[in-house]
């Protein structure tokens, strides 16, 4: 018997009991489908995050205090990182190209249209260079304004669109924590919606944030741009050396660079992948056992058919091929449906929840391959039982 003939027989066997075949495939469909959906969403998410980090530039470092404020032995509270530290780095670290302080808090923003919450960042003009962004309308604050701690703001793309949907915000005013500010510029939209994206921020001069808004000089972070990505380690060492004598006792700082963040991301996505593999394994195992179960039932039900086929000249191998192909047919059909269901499920989820998706061909190939293997693995035993039947006893079987 040829392979094609066996395939035709298997297809026929499945068609003759369609409902049962579909129910049997369900395990594989769900298994493969959920893996495809999760891989698509997972890869989408990690690609998005990686993209954001790459957008910010891989030669970026962040200096952050362990705690923003510490209490000295004398009992006074002092800020761990201040503008003085930032300027020391800018002045003395040769591997550093630019620095920008961040004195940020969430604040209440009021316009004629209503009240909103946004992150307000006190910084300097070099923030633009470091965050790889620029002004699309108006201008950045000047040194003069910084020195005078003027009440001027530059809006990120999102607050600009949200607070002033119909007009150019430049020249308008808004109130931050009950104080009136003049809008002098708007940032370009990066469209990366990142956790630390400039898109969502409202920028004010760091001096303004310190004196007129938040009443503290404790920085959340100092952004540092190294001369190049090869200078990251040098920059880190220099920053450490410059800052350590300047820090109040008991204070700690943490220096992170983008490469480290990327590594952490990769580690997280690796864990995620392993978890997925585990879920996939379990659901496919269940699907496979379902197929084995139904094939055993089918062999028993069709004992007489097997006897007839043997009696008129079918070899044990012919019977083995017929039933194995039937199992593989079931599981691979389930795999194909699962791939389609997984992709469309991921698509629907991403549209409903706004998540990123990325469809990968290798996931589809892997899903299909696994389904075929499952069919072979769990089908071969019932099929070999069918092949081992004694033709005479099988013929006596009624049904």
């Amino acid at each position: 018997m040829t392979f094609l003939e066996g395939f035709r027989l298997a297809a026929r066997g499945i068609r003759s009991n369609l409902l049962r075949s579909v129910l049997t495939m369900l395990g594989v469909i769900i298994g493969v489908g959920s893996v495809i959906a999760m891989v698509s969403l997972g890869q989408g998410a990690s690609a998005e995050v990686t993209q954001r980090i790459a957008n910010m530039g891989s030669n970026l470092l962040m200096v952050q205090p362990g705690r923003a404020v510490v209490r000295t032995s004398g009992g006074t509270r002092v800020a761990v990182l201040t503008v003085a530290h930032e300027q020391a780095i800018a002045a003395h670290a040769s591997a550093v190209a630019a620095t920008a302080p961040e004195l940020s808090q969430t604040a209440n923003i009021r316009t004629e249209s209503g009240s909103h919450e946004f992150q307000v960042i006190g910084t300097t003009a070099s923030y633009l260079e470091i965050r790889n962004t620029s002004i699309v309308s108006g201008r950045m604050f000047s040194d003069e304004e910084k020195r005078a701690a003027d009440r001027v703001v530059v809006l990120g793309a999102n607050p600009a669109a949200e607070l002033f949907p119909h007009t150019d915000p430049v020249g308008e005013t808004l109130r931050i924590n009950q104080r009136t500010f003049l809008i002098i510029g708007v940032l370009e939209a990066k469209g990366d919606s990142a956790m630390m994206s400039a898109d969502d921020s409202i920028l004010v001069p760091v001096t303004t944030a310190e004196k007129r808004l938040f009443g503290t000089d404790a920085l959340r972070m100092i952004n540092v741009k190294a001369v190049s990505s090869d200078h990251i380690d040098a920059a880190e060492a220099q920053i450490e050396r410059i800052l350590s004598p300047m820090l109040p006792e008991g204070a700690e700082i943490r220096i992170t660079n983008m490469q480290q963040m990327l590594d952490t991301m990769e580690e997280t996505s690796m864990t995620f992948t392993l978890l997925l593999a585990g879920i996939a394994g379990v659901s496919l195992l269940v699907g496979g056992i379902g197929i084995m179960n139904i094939m055993l039932v089918s062999v028993t039900e069709r004992t007489k058919e097997i006897g007839i086929r043997r009696a008129i000249g079918g070899t044990p191998k012919d019977i083995l091929v017929q039933f194995t192909l039937e199992a593989i047919f079931l599981s691979s059909l389930g795999g194909l449906i699962g791939i389609a269901a997984g992709f469309s499920g991921a698509q629907l989820l991403s549209q409903a929840m706004g998540w990123a998706v990325m469809f990968s061909g290798s996931a589809a190939v892997l899903g299909f391959g696994t389904a075929v293997t499952i069919g072979l693995f769990f089908g071969i035993w019932p099929a070999s039982r069918a092949a081992a039947l004694d033709p005479i006893l099988a013929l006596r079987h009624d049904m």
């Binding site: 018997m1 058919e305 043997r310 008129i312 000249g313 070899t315």
Partner: protein, 234 residues
């Protein structure tokens, strides 16, 4: 050379501690082109003998040569090859696949023989035509009468042009008119040179054969030969 040669063949079924001797030391020969009938009471071992001759079963002891070839040493796949190319078997209870049409049932031996779809359709239709069932080719077995099912089974046995046709009570479930139609088919096949071995309970059917073998308790008790010629000579 004989097409069937049994040398003291025995078949013993063990049921727990009990031993059932279905065949006891049967020695039997049949020449190619012969038409032989086997008679005997129920349970005397006729079907057991047919199954061994049809290479579906193996003797417990003794040896069986089919067409000069010792069957005892053959592997399952080789036995299957003999079944599909040299032997046509008409079973006591039809044994048709209920999910397939008459035509598909008749085609099945050719599927295993590796005949191309187009050719096997032709051959199967020809075999159905030979048994007068061409107009029922696309009916399922449950849409056929008993005689039509039996004729489908005969067409299936014929389709691979076997050297030997085995029929286990082919008329047992049929009325005598239909039985005669079936026997007419066998007689014409015999006239074409096919070797035929059939089991029957009916003396009238057995008369068609050139030799009648009588069975009792797994043993051959008597062999009657060339009745018709003797009768004609008288």
């Amino acid at each position: 050379m004989s097409i069937i040669a049994f040398d003291s063949v025995s078949k013993v079924y063990r049921m727990g501690s009990e031993e059932i001797h279905a065949l006891r030391d049967v020695t039997f020969r049949m020449a190619p082109g012969d038409f032989t009938a086997i008679m005997g009471s129920s349970g005397s071992g006729k079907s057991t003998m047919m199954n061994i001759i049809g290479c579906l079963d193996r003797p417990t002891s003794g040896s069986y040569y089919f067409d000069g070839r010792s069957v005892g040493t053959l592997k399952e796949a080789q036995l299957a090859a003999i079944r599909r190319s040299k032997i046509g078997f008409v079973f006591q209870s039809f044994h048709l696949l209920t999910r397939a049409s008459a035509l598909e049932n008749v085609e099945m031996p050719l599927v295993y023989a590796g005949v191309s779809p187009k050719k096997r359709r032709q051959q199967a239709l020809a075999a159905l035509d030979q048994v007068g069932l061409a107009d029922r080719a696309h009916h399922r077995p449950y849409e056929l009468s008993g005689g039509q099912m039996q004729r489908t089974a005969i067409a299936r046995a014929l389709v691979n042009r076997p050297r030997l046709l085995l029929a286990d009570e082919p008329t047992g479930a049929l009325d005598s008119a239909t039985g005669h139609e079936i026997m007419a088919i066998f007689r014409s096949l015999h006239a074409e040179g096919m070797s035929i071995l059939l089991v029957t309970h009916e003396q009238e059917i057995a008369q068609c054969a050139r030799m009648i073998v009588h069975f009792r308790d797994g043993e051959i008790t008597s062999v009657t030969k060339e009745q018709r010629e003797e009768a004609a000579a008288l």
